[in-house]
């Protein structure tokens, strides 16, 4: 193909090779001067000119209205500032608060290392940065002129705006080759913000939750308990990034990336149930019950799985796995510890999946290791949840506010995703009974509003539970979220499953793969790739839907902003300020998720066509 092409071109251009060189680049389009640009884009004819003038006026009015709302002296922004801790973690005990910072610090540490390992961030041209700064500075100047500031504030903000414009002008003409990492820019912005905590007198606000709650509002910079931890958090993130890029060169990258991903999945559980909840372990019970159960299951399970993953086990293995599954269900008929029931069912699942992952010794040992690791996590988690917390707070849960929003979101995502995949597989399965159950479930859940399901789970389900079984409201609500999101995710995954061609199924069958192997290795990887964009949309929607928690009376971010703070005597009627702050936080997070997903989509598309 190439050779024929080049010969035909050679024939045409045989005597003018210089022309060919010129033709390789498209002709440069001359940049428009500002007046030309205005004329071409905004004032091309009378009608467009009228539209331009009207919409500019509308935009200016909106900005002015917003600014005069925000900077009105009647606004009680100190209501938000004073209650920041309440908004973020509700009434987490003051003397244990370091646990919150340790958790946040660990997550930031993971973030830093991950950014380094995945080589996040891209090169941005300095001239582009200049352009953005120019626009930002101009906007600040415009806003300052529109806002009802005092003279002093107007002058300060004008100087800030002009400074930014100046930097922008300075950077704009730089050469195309001069670039800067977007991570450097981001950390620079954070550094400025944190430095400002130490320098600018934002005021010293705090809400002291003593027996008679006191509110503190002094002038000066923010409290040491705020600025010091944040500075440390910033340093942790930056240092871990450099640590990551230093270590990256020295170790097996693929393996450590896998390890990091698993850590991301597991660490929230540890942070929540070990660090934040601070369970009060009972040593005697631990060594008399929990540890023996763990040892029994991991040893017996390992021996069993080592045998089941032998390639030549055959029919006997399937019979034994089915028997374990049967025993697992039978345990619910008798009085026994919940942990035994759960672990038996998990063992049955591992045993049934064993033939798919069978193989030579290394493969079998790897499978057994996965089993032991899941035992460690499951046993520890169940024990921790069953142990009372030392964080004594009003209400039945130890944390609230933004933290509970994040927690429910995390559990929903981690558990709804596999459930959704299973539902989608069941709905496309050959077995009519699976298809029927899954279709009914999905259509039922999708036909009912989320708020109905939430109310049902928080009010009705605890009444239906059998004696001796107890479900906290938070757990019930999380389950409601999980089944709701799973039904929607299942439909997204089903779309992906349908995009896998018949030819792929046939090719996998033709090399002798079993149905399970075909699904795991061929169908799902391709289906999930296709399903990423709709799934990300669903994830963002889920995050926003956590706001519904406020309606059923869980002390989440929105509930505290809407009902708790305006109830404090000093801050009567400060609902609007708090709601504006809450919506800003939601906006920032959802916008970043959607931006990040665009990059993931691009990256996963690689190697596809």
């Amino acid at each position: 193909m190439n050779s024929t092409n080049s010969t035909s071109q050679d024939l045409i251009n045989s005597d003018s090779s210089t022309e060919l060189a010129n033709n390789e680049l498209p002709p440069k389009v001359a940049a428009l001067s500002p007046t030309e640009w205005l004329k071409a884009n905004l004032f091309s004819n009378t009608f467009n000119s009228i539209l331009t003038v009207l919409s500019t006026a509308a935009i200016l009015l909106i900005i002015r209205g917003l600014l005069s709302f925000i900077f009105n002296p009647l606004r009680q922004w100190s209501a938000t500032a004073t209650n920041m801790r309440l908004l973020m973690t509700q009434a987490y005990p003051e003397h244990q608060y370091v646990r919150v910072w340790v958790s946040l610090g660990f997550l930031l540490f993971l973030t830093g290392i991950s950014l380094a390992f995945w080589r996040a961030g891209r090169r941005v041209q300095l001239s582009q940065v200049g352009k953005r700064l120019l626009i930002l500075g101009a906007f600040i100047v415009l806003a300052t002129l529109l806002a009802p500031f005092s003279n002093r504030a107007t002058i300060i903000w004008l100087i800030v705006g002009i400074l930014i414009v100046g930097i922008g002008l300075l950077l704009k003409p730089s050469h195309e080759d001069k670039t800067i990492s977007s991570l450097t820019l981001l950390s620079g912005a954070f550094l400025l913000a944190i430095l400002s905590l130490w320098v600018i007198p934002y005021g010293h606000h705090s809400y002291l939750s003593t027996r008679t709650p006191k509110i503190l509002a002094e002038s000066g910079t923010v409290a040491m308990t705020t600025k010091l931890p944040w500075t440390i958090m910033f340093l942790v993130a930056v240092c871990s990034y450099f640590l990551g890029s230093f270590v990256r060169e020295k170790i097996d990258e693929a393996k450590s990336k896998a390890l990091l991903s698993v850590t991301w999945l597991i660490s929230p559980l540890f942070l929540l149930f070990l660090v934040l909840r601070d369970p009060d372990f009972d040593t005697r019970h631990l060594f008399s019950t929990d540890v023996p159960i763990f040892l029994f299951f991991s040893i017996v399970g390992s021996v069993l799985l080592l045998w089941l993953t032998k390639p030549d086990v055959g029919e006997k293995g399937r019979v034994i796995s089915a028997a374990i599954l049967f025993i697992g269900f039978a345990t619910f008929l008798f009085q026994m510890l919940m942990i035994v029931r759960i672990l038996t069912l998990v063992l049955a699942f591992f045993a049934l999946a064993a033939p798919t992952f069978s193989g030579q010794k290394p493969a079998r040992i790897r499978y057994t290791k996965v089993w032991i690791a899941s035992m460690v996590i499951l046993c520890w988690l169940i024990t921790a949840i069953n142990t009372p917390s030392t964080a004594k707070v009003p209400g039945d849960f130890f944390i609230g506010g933004f933290a509970i929003t994040l927690m429910i979101f995390f559990f929903t995502m981690v558990l709804a995703f596999p459930l959704g995949v299973l539902l989608a597989l069941a709905r496309t399965s050959k077995f009519p009974i699976f298809r029927m159950i899954s279709t009914t479930f999905i259509e039922f859940i999708r036909g009912v509003p989320l708020i109905t399901i939430l109310i049902f789970f928080s009010v009705m389900v605890p009444l239906f539970l059998p004696d001796g079984m107890d479900l906290t409201e938070i757990a019930a609500v999380t389950i409601a979220f999980i089944i709701f999101e799973a039904a929607y995710l299942a439909e997204n995954v089903r779309g992906g499953l349908q995009s896998v061609t018949q030819g792929q199924h046939e090719a996998a069958e033709a090399v002798g793969m079993t149905n399970a192997q075909k699904t795991v290795f061929i169908v799902l990887p391709q289906a999930l790739r296709v399903a990423i964009p709709p799934m990300v949309g669903q994830i963002i929607a889920t995050f926003k839907e956590t706001g519904l928690l406020a309606i059923i009376g869980i002390f989440d971010f929105l509930y505290i902003a809407r009902s708790v703070i305006p109830g404090q005597t000093q801050f009567m009627g400060s609902t609007r300020e708090n709601l504006l702050f809450v919506s800003l936080v939601y906006l920032v997070i959802c916008f970043s998720m959607s931006k990040a997903s665009q990059r993931v989509e691009k990256r996963v598309g690689l190697g596809e066509r």
Binding site: P311, G359, A507, E509, V511, R609
Partner: protein
């Protein structure tokens, strides 16, 4: 060339008359709805034999070849592959499929895996080979089909001819006793057909049992031991290439040959 000569002597040393019958079809019939795609097809194929199936489109060639590893199910008759009868028993089907390699018209490579992983996936998980051994085998197979340098690319980055050669390597990685080819060159640009046919010739010379559905008359003439001509779901005529191309007995065969030659 010397390599080819020794291999062709292996081919001439074959004793087809006394070879084992490896595929036996007896009265195989299949319907798609009311349309009868296969009508009482009976044939045997011996070990190391190369059979080319010719015929106009819609004559049931592809359906038949797909019945042999049960990508389609026949409704009447019997199909025995290497002594195992194809039935609804899942274990038999999996056994037969791991003995029979299949190459498709549209390649059907796994787009999310590299060429190396495409080839080594089934040996690792179906044949339970250690990963290192399977990857080594993948490299040597890529060498055999002439594209050792493409191992780390994704299928989408290869040309059609290269993709089809990877597909052949993927089928060979299972060390099959029989290879089925379902119009392996029909989706290729003309200049890529030869590279695929060369690989297939080499395979035939090495003594592989092959069943090929194709429209490549040159390949049929040169490589086939036996040509089967199908029309309307039936085998109309069976014979050696010389017999088939120079002296066909059936009217329908003559008509077909007159249309394509």
């Amino acid at each position: 060339m010397t390599d080819n000569e020794t291999e062709s002597s292996i081919r001439e040393d074959r004793d087809l008359a006394n070879a084992k019958e490896i595929i036996v079809c007896e009265g195989v019939s299949k319907w798609f709805g009311d349309f009868q795609a296969l009508n009482n097809v009976s044939a045997t194929i011996k070990e190391q034999e190369v059979v080319v199936v010719l015929g106009p489109s819609g004559s049931g060639k592809s359906t038949w070849i797909r019945c042999i590893n049960r990508l389609e199910q026949h409704q009447e008759g019997r199909i025995m592959v290497d002594g195992v009868e194809l039935s609804n028993d899942l274990r038999n089907i999996e056994k037969v499929r791991s003995e029979v390699g299949m190459v498709f018209q549209m390649f059907n490579l796994f787009p999310h895996l590299t060429v190396r992983d495409n080839i080594s996936l089934a040996p690792i998980w179906v044949r339970k080979k250690p990963r290192a051994e399977a990857e080594e085998q993948a490299s040597s197979l890529l060498e055999r089909v002439g594209i050792p340098e493409q191992a780390d690319k994704f299928p989408g980055q290869l040309s059609g001819g290269q993709q089809q050669r990877v597909a052949i390597a993927r089928a060979l990685a299972m060390e099959p006793k029989i290879m089925l080819f379902d119009e392996p060159t029909s989706a290729l640009d003309p200049e890529m057909i030869k590279e695929v046919l060369d690989v297939m010739k080499e395979l035939a010379l090495s003594g592989m049992t092959m069943m090929v559905v194709t429209h490549e008359m040159g390949f049929a003439k040169e490589v086939a031991d036996k040509i089967m001509f199908m029309e309307g779901g039936q085998i109309v005529e069976t014979g050696t290439p010389e017999h088939f191309f120079t002296n066909p007995t059936e009217e329908r065969t003559k008509l077909f040959l007159s249309q394509i030659l």
